[in-house]
Symmetry: D2
Subunit: 136 residues, 4 copies
């Protein structure tokens, strides 16, 4: 299992007139969180695209427990439970500074070869970086 | 069962560098679609808030089949399968102009009394408007 | 002078906790408005990109008079005062359903040849469509 | 003169199909930058709203020089040239990690008393914090 954490400060633009973070904006937070998870093992999603692999999202699930508010400093925990194959699943937990669980989410992405637009295996450099976290 | 449809034209701002609609933007499309579904029975979500009831989202699910692209004219079908109680579930199907199914989604919302911030029953005027669609 | 109008319904996602449309979202409205202005002369911005010309924005100016609110049906007037050359200027006026002027804006865009990434002349088909509006 | 700096990492959601940051997203970056400018003198915009003063934007100006790209680590310099009165002007300069100037902007905000919705003087605590930067 691989776990990483990152912080996101809620922007004013991300609130709605309910005074909460708009529910659709968590997808952006999850994107930032998984990007930072990769950066923690010295990889960037940008590198993957430059090397010809993109990762569109196949599914998104969010469960909203409590609202995030303007200027909250959120902590997003990103969890990879299974070594990626053609697909890669990320789980997310969003907490506020008081430690309250605000939101739980899950995304499944697929590796796509940008040349032929078809699914492809997880890039070897990513697999190599993640393997140590899945060994006993 | 209540079914309604609305059209949304994809904005440039909603695309990302993959050339597709960013996956987080479907939550906005679903919001527009359920708002227009209510308008079709002569109600607006705005009225509900003005009358003291808000509807935060409890859960969001999206399954992405094919990408929507810039300037696509999307048709979003909104389906209400069950009469709302304290919660209200909406299902969505997004098609492009070629009739391809791009995306399926689901949101569950809860009625909240804005005075005490607690769950409350579905407003009677909404229930009344929807009932005919659920009778045989 | 070429003038066109389009309508945009304010989405919940576009409001912020002030209860107004977030100031940064007018840039999106302007984009929709200029796209619809082109469509009115049977052209689309999409065609231009497919033909190898893109139009990045060089400058954006907005003056905010009154706030737009959730579910407002806005009318955006787009004005082209000068025939485009290498650059193209659009002016915008945003009114609400009560006829109040909410916002005035201006964008200048530049035609870029996507092959060499350099400025280029306005596509002839656009010029041809606009010319009649600038003759006496 | 008061100057502060903050960093913003470009999110995938903020790009468009041109492969650049969408021009409307700089308004968000400017919002983050002025919020962080205030935080640097131990104030938050959130405090102002909680104390009954909000700051809607009166005007926005952006001049786009070069595009920001996905995953760029931007530095936003925020400049306050004049002590605020009823209005407060911020200037912004956006640079990428290579030191290139990408964008220059300017916003003017107004202090509004949230009770009567009318313009009001700059909150004294803000004025006090800024004064030392404007003395010789």
């Amino acid at each position: 299992m691989f776990v990483s954490e990152c912080n996101i400060r809620v922007r004013y633009s991300e609130t709605d007139q309910m005074g909460y973070v708009y529910y659709g904006n968590y997808a952006q937070y999850f994107e930032v969180a998984r990007t930072e998870a990769l950066r923690q093992v010295d990889l960037t999603y940008k590198m993957f695209e430059e090397a010809g692999t993109m990762m569109p999202v196949l599914s998104l699930l969010c469960k909203f427990k409590k609202p995030a508010k303007y200027d909250d400093l959120l902590t997003i925990k990103t969890i990879i439970r299974v070594l990626p194959s053609v697909k890669m699943a990320f789980e997310y937990e969003v907490h506020n500074a008081a430690g309250e669980l605000l939101n739980e989410g899950e995304t499944v992405l697929v590796f796509i070869n940008m040349k032929n637009n078809r699914p492809t295996a997880c890039p070897p450099n990513l697999l190599e970086k993640l393997k140590p976290f899945f060994e006993q």
